[in-house]
């Protein structure tokens, strides 16, 4: 066990500046209106720095810088862009521990997760798209002997990206890596709950990128996010967040006739078939872990397996075993490497989770464990901590239908395959899901039947860059990850060329 010193305290490996301006055109630029907002760490609930409160003027300035850079950046060779992405990855890797501590401080997630998941995945993502862009090719179609259709990939130009607070660095990199690889310049608006993590990274990589290729404007959604999302000067907007804002962004995009990618969350079913309990072996143990993945990142994951569906014959036994495992979850100081469950990212989130726990009780769901706010004592008393919570109930209940975005699991029973699929698909969303079975035919059929963009089969919460991620139904539009993501950031240019000297004879 080791505990990292809090940033701002003697011995901390991650130091924040007292104030962060916008990152525009390769330098820090003060906000046009001179206003700043306070940035709170959910670990203690205290302010640790202040951040520029951007407005439409700052977005315009960032768009100017991005447009000024777009021409040259879009014409760099793919080898050059891949080289830069690889150098960024190397720089992040060399500073992995420091970046992890910084992100944990801002977001509240356990440092073991930032060190083992968030930052390594971000590094890998950069390397994946560095490779993918070099391997990408256009196409040639022979229309007839003297007529050829050439298809080229071209960058869109300048794109807007709005980043959520649950993975402040990884979600930024998910959007940045394909956009940059494809030759676009970016204006990025971080979440107001976690505005600084990506600037912390930017400080480390600034010398690797031409000015204006990445521009970061902070501020509140209504003041900075909206001018970006509604700007006529972005060729595309990408957003991760909730459904109402997603609709509003589509509405703005329709006014400007630009494409959107939206990732709007889910209420992912995690389906455990009866055969998993045939043996009490390593696989059964893996299933118990899979059940408890609801606690990863404090449940603040769009794909959190927040509905566990358990086959009737094994229901009592499996649930009892899984709860033993849930009770072993260590909650504590996010900067302690032994901590498994840290702080919720904000007070809003804490309040929302507690209100859902109340709804669950009112609707008659049975509280099996947890259900309360946690006071960790000392200076962590002001932080935003919730016990891992498990309810038993039925799928029509609101705690089974709404994304609580906390460490709250809703468990229900099914009898047979058909019933499992009916419950799994009885949701507005279709982002993630999990299927657990020793019989691959069962697992395969379930995977094809579940209406979700990602079906983890005998695993959960793995996010390799090479696997497409995105939603069915109200979970959004488009995909992230995978080389297909390059298409989301590219125009198709078709040159239709005649090599014939003969006229058509029409005129």
């Amino acid at each position: 066990m080791s505990v990292y010193a809090q940033p701002g305290q003697p011995g901390s490996i991650a130091e924040f500046k007292a104030r962060y301006d916008h990152w525009i055109g390769g330098e820090y630029v003060a906000p046009a209106k001179g206003q700043y907002f306070e940035n709170v760490t959910p670990v203690t609930g205290r302010v640790f720095c202040e951040v520029a409160r951007g407005t439409a003027e700052d977005i315009e300035k960032a768009l100017n810088a991005a447009h000024a850079a777009a021409g040259a950046w879009g014409k760099t060779s793919v080898a050059e862009r891949a080289h830069i992405l690889n150098k960024i990855a190397d720089r992040v890797e060399a500073n992995l521990e420091m970046i992890s501590v910084a992100e944990t401080w801002e977001n509240g997630k356990p440092v073991r997760e930032t060190m083992a998941a968030d930052i390594p995945l971000a590094i890998d993502h950069l390397r994946y798209f560095a490779g993918a862009i070099r391997a990408q090719e256009g196409s040639i179609g022979e229309i007839d002997h003297d007529t050829v259709a050439y298809h080229f990939h071209e960058p869109l130009g300048v794109v807007g990206q709005i980043i959520p607070w649950n993975f402040p660095i990884l979600m930024a990199v998910w959007k940045l890596a394909p956009a940059l690889a494809a030759g676009n310049c970016v204006v990025l608006k971080p979440a107001e709950q976690t505005p600084v993590s990506i600037l912390f990274v930017m400080d480390l990589i600034a010398d690797l990128l031409p000015p204006g290729v990445i521009n970061i404007v902070n501020g509140f959604g209504v003041e900075a996010g909206k001018p970006l999302a509604s700007s006529r000067r972005v060729a595309k907007i990408a957003f991760t967040g909730e459904t109402t804002t997603g609709r509003l962004i589509m509405q703005y995009a329709s006014e400007n006739i630009i494409p959107v990618t939206l990732e709007l969350g889910g209420k992912s079913p995690n389906v455990f078939f009866r055969d998993i309990a045939d043996q009490k072996d390593a696989f059964y143990d893996k299933c118990l872990e899979g059940f408890n993945m609801f606690a990863l990142n404090q449940g603040e994951v769009c794909t959190s397996p927040s509905r566990a569906l358990i086959d009737a014959p094994i229901y009592d036994e499996f649930l009892a075993d899984a709860i033993v495992r849930a009770k072993a979850i260590t909650q504590g100081n996010p900067l302690d490497t032994d901590t498994m469950l840290g702080a919720q990212a904000s007070n809003d989130q804490l309040e929302k989770i507690l209100s859902y726990i109340e709804v669950g009780k009112q609707e008659g769901a049975k509280l099996l464990i947890g259900g309360k706010r946690v006071d960790l004592g000392g200076d962590l008393s002001g932080g935003f901590y919730v016990e891992p919570t498990i309810f038993e109930g039925t799928n029509g209940m609101r705690i089974f239908q709404e994304e609580i975005f906390g460490p709250v699991l809703a468990v229900t029973k099914f009898d047979g395959f058909e019933a499992a699929m009916e419950i799994a698909n009885d949701t507005l969303y279709g982002l993630g899901s999990g299927v657990w079975s020793r019989y691959m035919n069962t697992a395969y059929r379930a995977g094809r039947e579940i209406q979700a963009g990602r079906v983890w089969t005998n695993c959960y919460h793995a996010y390799p860059a090479h696997a497409a991620f995105g939603g069915y139904k109200s979970s959004g539009i488009g995909r992230e990850n995978h080389k297909m993501m390059l298409d989301h950031y590219q125009q198709t240019k078709n040159l239709l060329v005649s090599y014939s000297e003969d006229k058509l004879g029409f005129f």
Partner: protein, 144 residues
């Protein structure tokens, strides 16, 4: 008040701290509306916009209207029809708490955040509401 919901138990309400914030936001932004969000991150938050900013249509249900002292226009509260199907048995109270918020909701610069609390309708309330039509954003009525 929308005629459709006259004499029915209200589906929504607001606390005094929400009303204070709404008075302040109305004076700066003019007439307001809410759309109840779902999904990840700041999902489940009631998003507050100037009237007309967010387009409602046949896929939205009017939950009700907040009539607040010193605010001329009642504030309409909307939710998507598909989400309403799962929420229809619950009463919603809009409150304002210290927080950072998210989305493009108007209150974030105030250091406060709209949040909802839910309670299950009483048997008496539900017996009245359960077979009543609701008003959609395209003006149609629908039995849900």
């Amino acid at each position: 008040m929308s005629l459709t919901y006259l004499d029915l138990p209200p589906r929504i309400g607001s606390t005094e701290s929400a009303n204070d914030l709404l008075r302040k936001l109305t004076s700066g932004n003019g007439p307001l509306m809410f759309h109840q969000s779902g999904g990840c991150c700041d999902g489940s938050s009631p998003m507050c916009y100037p009237v007309g900013e967010f387009r409602v249509g046949g896929a939205d249900v009017l939950l009700g209207e907040l009539v607040i002292d010193q605010i001329e226009e009642p504030i309409q509260v909307w939710i998507s029809l598909e989400q309403f199907e799962y929420w229809k048995h619950t009463h919603i109270t809009i409150d304002a708490v210290p927080g950072r918020g998210g989305g493009f909701s108007l209150e974030t610069p105030e250091g406060l955040r709209f949040i909802i609390y839910s309670r299950i309708f009483t048997d008496v309330e539900w017996s009245i509401l359960k077979d009543k039509e609701v008003l959609l954003g395209n003006g149609a009525l629908k039995l849900v």
